[in-house]
């Protein structure tokens, strides 16, 4: 059964069509890599999944539950949007850690705020907060930052900040974890540590949608590759096919340009 089904998503900003009939589906534990040049709509697609943008057309279905249907009611309440967003995690290109919180608090914050809405919060406050803390500390350990837990973002390198951001996105156990070019803002020597963390997540069967310019990495990590151009899915399939024997002219040209670099 598919965890995520994206059907015919389209989105325009004014006159510009950014996404046209984009669709794919993702099984539990699978990784999908979305490649394509800048301006092809990859980021907008992720933003639609995370309800930062509202698609003009199409559907988003998670675990057979339709979260969004452009044919139905599109003006969701804040509460509905918040609930929908919890199905997804998003790791930004520019990390977007909260500068006034330590690494640990960055990971804990959303969970702590969410826990207040639990009916048993008052009664079990201490236990709940301890669980959240332990979970956060565990995630930071998982991304190799146990010793940096109490440092503030500006005291961390870019790669370390991005790893904190990954831990933060994992803290609420989303069904699908999305990455928006997670290494594009990093110095080349720091990309490795972040990619390694993402590969480790893939090995643990984390369901992920990864927008990336790292072709070698995409080939390694993905079960499916989607090549987008001009807001369209031009080619999709297993990495061996899309990278090994691309069928579409546009895909071939795109990959050629990347192999030259």
């Amino acid at each position: 059964m598919s965890v995520l089904e994206v059907k015919n998503i389209s989105k325009s900003f004014g006159e510009t069509e950014v996404l046209r009939d984009v669709g794919f589906s993702l099984e539990k534990g699978q990784v999908i890599a979305i490649i394509g040049s800048s301006g092809s709509g990859k980021t907008t697609l992720l933003r639609c999944l995370n309800f930062l943008e509202t698609p003009d057309g199409g559907q988003i279905v998670v675990n057979s539950e339709t979260l969004f249907d452009a044919g139905g009611r599109t003006q969701l309440t804040e509460k509905e949007v918040r609930r929908n967003r919890l199905h997804f995690g998003l790791v930004f290109q520019s990390f977007n850690l909260f500068p006034q919180y330590t690494a640990l608090s960055n990971v804990k914050l959303a969970g702590e705020l969410l826990a207040r809405e639990r009916s048993d919060y008052q009664a079990k406050r201490k236990t709940i907060l301890k669980e959240i803390r332990d979970n956060a500390a565990g995630l930071l350990q998982q991304v190799g930052l146990s010793d940096k837990m109490h440092l503030y973002p500006h005291q961390l390198s870019g790669g370390q900040q991005q790893r904190v951001a990954i831990a933060r996105a994992l803290a609420l156990s989303p069904d699908v974890l999305c990455f928006d070019e997670p290494t594009s803002a990093l110095d080349p020597e720091l990309t490795g540590e972040v990619l390694k963390v993402i590969l480790a997540l893939a090995e643990k069967n984390t369901t992920m949608v990864i927008v990336t310019h790292e072709m070698q990495f995409a080939r390694e990590v993905a079960d499916q590759v989607v090549f987008m151009d001009g807001g369209l899915v031009v080619e999709a399939g297993p990495p061996e096919e899309v990278f090994g024997k691309p069928k579409q002219e546009r895909t071939i040209r795109f990959l050629e340009r990347y192999s030259e670099v």
Binding site: E78, R82, R83, R85, N96, P99, P153
Partner: protein
């Protein structure tokens, strides 16, 4: 003589401090509300607030004091401030709050707009509410950004309080000046400068300390 002057100036400076303190208490929150107005996506509200801010920042504070104190009596035929010194004091504080909240609102606006959009988006994708994002993520970053310009305005306010004398609020300069007529001495008026210097010196130190306190993170 020195004792008499000092007692009188102290009393006047207390009034100065009262205007100063009450203005801040009123203008800090009101300025924030105006900032929300001027950044509102609801156009009519946005333009209304921008118009008010333009009027208030575009005219002298002295004129605003006169209009607010005399306006109700002369224009509406109802001087709701009364004729007591307490009424004049209240009118002065109201004028100061309106004036300073407009300046503060622009500082807040700059601070709010200066926080990268990614910060609230990061909060959004983590399922936070708008209120939580503002209070837990944005607010402190705004404070950190606005402490220096706010400090400037606060120091300016210390000295602007002296304008209250145009509607006969007995602040420190008023009291200093009375000695010219009453005793034929001018040094008490000059001596009021010492009060301003000391007080703005203390404020500068406090603001510096606040800036240091917010040094634990960078924006």
């Amino acid at each position: 003589m020195f004792q008499t002057v000092l007692a009188s100036l102290n009393e006047g400076f207390l009034k100065t401090l009262e205007i100063f303190g009450l203005t801040l208490v009123g203008a800090f929150p009101l300025g924030l509300i105006l900032a929300f107005g001027s950044t509102s996506p609801f156009r009519p509200l946005k333009y209304l607030v921008k118009f008010i801010v333009w009027c208030v920042r575009g005219t002298p504070l002295m004129l605003q004091l006169l209009i607010i104190y005399y306006g109700p009596g002369l224009i509406l035929g109802n001087n709701w401030w009364g004729t007591s010194s307490a009424g004049r004091f209240t009118a002065a504080v109201v004028a100061f709050i309106i004036n300073y909240s407009c300046y503060f609102s622009e500082i807040y606006r700059g601070g709010i707009e200066g926080v990268p959009k990614g910060q609230s988006e990061a909060g959004q994708v983590l399922g936070m509410t708008k209120g939580q994002i503002f209070s837990r993520v944005i607010f402190l970053q705004v404070i950190k950004r606005i402490v220096p310009p706010m400090g400037n305005e606060i120091i300016t306010l210390v000295k602007d309080t002296s304008l209250a004398r145009v509607i006969a609020v007995y602040e420190v300069i008023w009291n200093g000046q009375t000695f010219i007529k009453a005793s034929g001495i001018i040094w008490p008026l000059f001596f009021t400068g010492v009060y301003y210097l000391l007080f703005s010196g203390i404020l500068t130190l406090l603001l510096g300390r606040l800036e240091k306190k917010l040094d634990f993170f960078r924006v």
